[in-house]
């Protein structure tokens, strides 16, 4: 049973992606990421000396500030900040700069569905721009379920409203490796099959959830390739290559 999407995309097709890095003058790293009409700006400051009171001083500390487009900061924004902080802590190498704080500030420019994955991608690009040491990149995707059981990737706001459930999924990126294929397996699965973060809204069955995860995982390859290509293009500037 085919599902008709308003903008004519297939169920597994993502919206056009755009990413630019080093756009803010004063911040140490910045990036803007847009998926279709959803656009998020991320800025990274740091690492700066000192950690907050309840944080472990033997590791690097991250703080996330989420700024919505309009309105006051409430519980939704605090939840996004917490999810982003945990995701960033999973992907960054925390032992390289102990006793430092890195601030990540997310500014929502426009919300047209799939906002949290867009913000995670923007934050990851900004961290790369700032040179924060990371274990791998985080690639985030939103997958939602229609009531006929069909899974659809990267919904816009209208589609999100019609869906019964949705899942935000964050995977590690697909990496280049000098190792022969199949040698870097963690418990018999390649590293890319791991999942970093998963946030679900609504009611879905376990099988439907795994279907969402499979579809999301299949899309990470194209997102990783986009990021790599975007970075290579900016590397052609002699300044970036040193």
């Amino acid at each position: 049973m085919e599902i008709d999407r308003e903008d004519g995309r297939t169920p597994n097709q993502l919206r056009p992606l755009a990413c630019s890095r080093n756009i803010l003058h004063r911040s140490h790293g910045s990036a803007s990421w847009s998926q279709g009409d959803t656009k998020v700006l991320a800025a990274v400051y740091g690492p700066k000396a000192g950690t907050k009171k309840n944080e472990n001083p033997e590791k690097a500390c991250f703080e996330v500030i989420w700024k919505p487009k309009t309105g006051q900061i409430g519980k939704v924004e605090k939840e996004y900040e917490l999810i982003l902080k945990r995701t960033i802590q999973s992907i960054c190498v925390l032992t390289v700069n102990p006793n430092t704080t890195t601030s990540v500030i997310i500014q929502v420019v426009h919300d047209d569905g799939s906002l949290l994955p867009c913000a995670i991608n923007a934050a990851c690009a900004a961290l790369v721009d700032a040179g924060i040491p990371m274990k791998h990149l985080a690639v985030a995707i939103c997958c939602c379920l229609a009531d006929n059981g069909y899974a659809v990737l990267d919904p816009n706001k209208l589609e999100e409203k019609k869906m019964t459930a949705l899942a935000y999924l964050v995977f590690p990126n697909t990496t280049l490796s000098v190792l022969p294929e199949g040698s870097s397996l963690v418990e018999d699965e390649p590293v890319e099959h791991g999942i970093i973060t998963s946030v679900t809204h609504g009611v879905m069955s376990v099988d439907d959830y795994f279907l969402c995860v499979e579809n999301g995982r299949a899309a990470t390859a194209s997102l990783s390739a986009f990021f790599r290509k975007n970075f290579q293009q900016s590397q052609r500037d002699p300044s970036k290559a040193g």
Binding site: H28, G29, G46, P47, K48, A49, E58, I91, V93, T95, V96, N97, P98, N99, T100, V128, D129, A130, G131, P133, M134, K135, H136, L137, P172, N173, T175, L176, S177, V178, L179, P180, S184, F227, R228, F231, Q232, Q235, D237, P238, S239, K240, A241, G242
Partner: protein
């Protein structure tokens, strides 16, 4: 140049890598010492990249990821420009654009004794050498070279300091001389100091020379060698009439 590393199928040397890319497999290289520079970390048997940049290799055994950022990662024997933020009994606290403030011992000067401690005000610009950097500790600096001589380290008076990226300061310090500096040097006389931490200082007799040199350097970030020479020629032409 892309040299093959043992018998691996692909080599990432001189390629752009992103965090997570596995660049070396240690199980194939036995009994070799490998030196890892910035941006690489060891994860059991593989070396993977922590930053996005270009993977570089220098014989016989040095690997690193080269990238340009606004902040600096202190390394020993780097020459940097620091700004004094505080002075205590034993050390000056100096900001070198790194994750931590750095310490400059009060006696780390040529002929430094307890009787002739220099008095640096907060905000003084110093040309310094990074002595040691240990994980978790503040980096240590010195105003002498390894043999204890002053060798032009110390405060930089007058002139104009501006911030650059680490990639641009590496380009300005490369040898042979960077094309923009050479082209400017043919017509103008000026002195400069560049810190690997992304700070540059320019001084000349007249303020307009300082401004011309500083603007030419800031414009040359994305230009190739020939483009830099053309840019400097055009700039000097405009100024002279």
């Amino acid at each position: 140049m892309g040299t093959k590393v043992s018998s691996s199928p692909i080599s990432l040397i001189d390629q752009t890598v992103v965090p997570g890319d596995v660049v070396l497999d240690l199980s194939n290289l036995t009994n070799q010492t490998i030196k890892l520079g910035s941006g690489l970390r060891q994860d059991n048997d593989v070396i993977s990249s922590m930053r996005a940049g270009k993977l570089k290799y220098s014989k016989p055994n040095k690997y690193w990821v080269e990238s340009s950022h606004k902040r600096y990662v202190p390394r020993p024997e780097d020459h940097v420009l620091g700004i004094v933020v505080d002075s205590k009994a034993d050390n000056f606290w100096v900001d070198i654009k790194g994750p931590q403030l750095a310490l400059l011992p009060v006696l780390a000067f040529e002929g430094g004794t307890r009787r002739n401690i220099p008095k640096f005000e907060v905000g003084t610009l110093l040309y310094l050498r990074v002595v040691k950097t240990n994980a978790g500790m503040n980096p240590e600096l010195s105003c002498t070279d390894a043999s204890g001589k002053a060798a032009q380290f110390g405060p930089l008076r007058d002139g104009f300091m501006f911030e650059t990226s680490t990639g641009l300061s590496r380009m300005l310090l490369s040898s042979p001389t960077c094309p923009v500096l050479e082209a400017l040097g043919k017509k103008l006389s000026y002195e400069t100091a560049f810190g690997l931490n992304g700070r540059a200082w320019v001084n000349a007799a007249a303020p307009r020379t300082v401004i011309i040199v500083a603007n030419a350097i800031m414009n040359s970030v994305t230009l190739s060698g020939t483009q830099q020479r053309i840019m400097v020629e055009k700039l000097l032409e405009k100024i002279s009439d």
